[in-house]
C-alpha cells in the first residue's frame, strides 16, 4: 500500500526543510573571511602532499562485494521469516525449514571459503 508511506514522506519533507534551513541560516549568519591557508585540506599542519582521491586498499572492495552477497541472502530470508508461522500452521514447517537450512548452509560454506582464502584478513 503506497498510501502507508505518505506519513514517512511527509516526515522526510519536514526533515529536508529543517536541514536545508539549518544550512542556509548558518551560511547567511556566519562570517565569511576565507583565505588560502584556511581553505587548504588539513594534513597535520603540512601542505597537502598529492591528492586524497588516490587508490586505496583492495580489502574495502572485497568487503563491499561480500556484503552484497550476504545482504541479498538476508533479504531472501525475510519473506520466509514473516510467513514461517503460516507454514507451521499448514503443517509443512519441517520441509520449509530444511530448505532454509540448505540455503543457509550453502552460504555458510561461501563465508567459510572466504575466511580460508583470507578475504577478510585486514592485517
Amino acid at each position: 500500500m503506497l498510501s502507508d508511506f505518505t506519513p514517512l514522506f511527509i516526515q522526510l519533507l519536514i526533515a529536508i526543510g529543517l536541514s536545508f534551513t539549518l544550512l542556509k541560516a548558518a551560511a547567511l549568519i556566519g562570517p565569511k573571511r576565507a583565505n588560502t591557508i584556511k581553505l587548504t585540506s588539513y594534513e597535520s599542519g603540512m601542505d597537502p602532499i598529492g591528492s586524497a582521491r588516490d587508490r586505496y586498499s583492495v580489502k574495502f572492495y572485497l568487503v563491499a562485494m561480500i556484503f552484497i552477497v550476504f545482504d541479498v541472502e538476508v533479504v531472501f530470508l525475510y519473506p520466509w521469516a514473516v510467513t514461517f508461522s503460516e507454514f507451521l500452521d499448514a503443517g509443512v514447517g519441517l520441509g520449509v525449514l530444511s530448505v532454509v537450512f540448505l540455503f543457509v548452509i550453502i552460504l555458510a560454506i561461501g563465508l567459510l571459503y572466504d575466511i580460508k582464502k583470507g578475504g577478510l584478513e585486514f592485517d
Binding site: 500500500m1 502507508d4 508511506f5 505518505t6 506519513p7 514517512l8 511527509i10 516526515q11 522526510l12 519536514i14 526533515a15 529536508i16 529543517l18 536541514s19 536545508f20 539549518l22 544550512l23 541560516a25 548558518a26 556566519g30 562570517p31 573571511r33 576565507a34 588560502t36 581553505l39 585540506s41 588539513y42 594534513e43 597535520s44 597537502p48 591528492s51 586524497a52 582521491r53 586505496y56 574495502f60 568487503v63 563491499a64 561480500i66 556484503f67 550476504f70 545482504d71 538476508v74 525475510y78 521469516a81 514473516v82 510467513t83 514461517f84 508461522s85 507451521l88 500452521d89 514447517g93 519441517l94 525449514l97 532454509v100 537450512f101 563465508l111 575466511i115 577478510l120 585486514f122 592485517d123
Partner: protein, 341 residues
C-alpha cells in the same frame, strides 16, 4: 489510523522537535555522565547545572564560519550532512510511542528502518570523499566498511524477532510482546542472543564507542568530519545523537516491549477503566521514553567502560563471530518455534 495529511504533518513536526530537543538533552547528559565517570563535574557554568550548555553550543555553531576547502566538492560537501540529519529524523517516524501513536504505521516499517540505516552509510562515505582530505577519506572508508559489515548481523538479529512475531510491522512486534504477565513475553527473554547481537550491532551502526573508529581522534583527527566546520559539523553532531537515541528506541521496541508498561496486562486487568484511556497512552509514552533513556545511558556507560577496538579486531568480530552467530541464532529460533508448535 488514517489522519488528514496536515495532522500527520503536525505530529511529524512535533516528533522532529522532540528529537531535536532530546538530542540536546543527550549531549548534555553525555557530557555530564562522562564528567562524573571521570570524577569531574562536567559542564556547570551555562545555566543551572550547565543545562543550557548544548543550546549555547548550537548558537555558537550557527555563528561560526562555514569553511569549504578549495579542493572539496561543494555540492556533495553540503549534501552529506543534510543526508545524515534527514535520515536520522526520518527514522523517528517509524517508532511507535504509544498504542496508536506512530507517524508511519506501515506493514514493512522494520525493513524501511534497515533501508534508512543503509542510506546513512552514504552520508558518511560522501562526507569523507567530498572533503578531499586523507583523514576524511580514511574515516569515511573505515566507517562504510564497518557499517555494512555490522548491518548484516543487525539484519539477521531483526530477522529472529520477525520470526517470533511473524510481522515486519513495529506496532505488531510490540503488541506481540504483551503476553506472559506483560514482562516475560518481551523478546529479550524469548530471544536473548538476538537481543545482545542487536545491541552490539546498534553500537557499531551508530559509530559509538567501542566502535567509534570512523572518528578515532588519535589516529584520524576527526574522521569523516575533519574538514567540516560551523553548522555543517553541528549537523553531523546532531545526526549522531538523534541516531543514537533512535537506536535506543529501536532496541526498546524490538526487545524490551516498546511502549508497553511492565506488567501492563496485569495492571489493566486490575483497573479496567485504564484500558484505551488517555492516561494509559500518556503512561506508555513515558514508559518508552524512560526505557529508551536507560539504553541511551547504557550507550554512554559503555563508552567509558570499553576501549576502542583495533580495525582488524572490528572486522574479525563482525564477520567471523557476529555473522555466523546471528545466522545460527535465527535458525535456532526457527527450530524452537517449530518444536513449540
Amino acid at each position: 489510523m488514517d489522519l488528514a495529511w496536515y495532522w500527520t504533518a503536525l505530529i511529524a513536526f512535533v516528533i522532529i522537535n522532540f528529537l531535536l530537543i532530546s538530542a540536546s538533552v543527550l549531549v548534555y547528559a553525555e557530557r555530564k555522565v562522562s564528567g562524573y565517570m571521570q570524577n569531574r563535574p562536567g559542564p556547570n557554568r551555562v545555566g543551572p547545572f550547565g543545562f543550557l550548555q548544548p543550546f549555547a553550543d548550537v548558537v555558537k555553531l550557527v555563528f561560526k564560519e562555514n569553511i569549504v576547502p578549495t579542493l572539496a566538492n561543494p555540492f556533495v560537501h553540503s549534501l552529506a550532512p543534510m543526508m545524515m540529519v534527514v535520515i536520522a529524523m526520518a527514522a523517528g517516524a517509524l517508532i511507535p510511542f504509544a498504542r496508536g501513536v506512530v507517524i508511519a504505521d506501515m506493514d514493512v516499517s522494520i525493513l524501511v528502518l534497515l533501508a534508512l540505516t543503509s542510506i546513512s552509510v552514504y552520508g558518511v562515505t560522501l562526507a569523507g570523499w567530498s572533503s578531499n582530505s586523507k583523514y576524511s577519506l580514511l574515516g569515511g572508508l573505515r566507517s562504510s566498511a564497518q557499517m555494512i559489515s555490522y548491518e548484516l548481523s543487525m539484519g539477521l538479529a531483526v530477522l529472529s524477532v520477525v520470526l517470533i512475531s511473524s510481522s515486519l510491522n513495529m506496532v505488531t512486534i510490540v503488541e506481540d510482546q504483551a503476553g506472559g504477565f506483560g514482562l516475560f513475553a518481551w523478546n529479550v527473554f524469548r530471544n536473548p542472543v538476538g537481543c545482545i547481537l542487536f545491541i552490539v550491532t546498534a553500537f557499531a551502526e551508530t559509530n559509538r564507542a567501542p566502535f567509534d573508529l570512523p572518528e578515532a581522534e588519535q589516529e584520524l583527527v576527526g574522521g569523516y568530519h575533519t574538514e567540516y566546520s560551523g553548522m555543517k559539523f553541528g549537523m553531523f553532531f546532531l545526526a549522531e545523537y538523534v541516531n543514537f537515541f533512535v537506536a535506543s528506541f529501536v532496541i526498546v521496541t524490538l526487545f524490551f516491549g516498546g511502549y508497553l508498561l511492565p506488567f501492563e496486562s496485569v495492571i489493566v486487568a486490575q483497573f479496567p477503566a485504564l484500558a484505551d484511556s488517555y492516561l494509559l497512552m500518556a503512561l506508555q509514552v513515558l514508559t518508552v521514553i524512560l526505557k529508551a533513556g536507560f539504553f541511551a545511558y547504557v550507550f554512554i556507560w559503555v563508552r567509558w567502560t570499553l576501549p576502542r577496538f583495533k580495525y582488524t579486531q572490528l572486522m574479525t568480530l563482525g564477520w567471523k563471530y557476529l555473522l555466523p552467530l546471528a545466522l545460527v541464532n535465527a535458525l535456532v529460533v526457527a527450530v524452537v518455534l517449530a518444536i513449540l508448535h
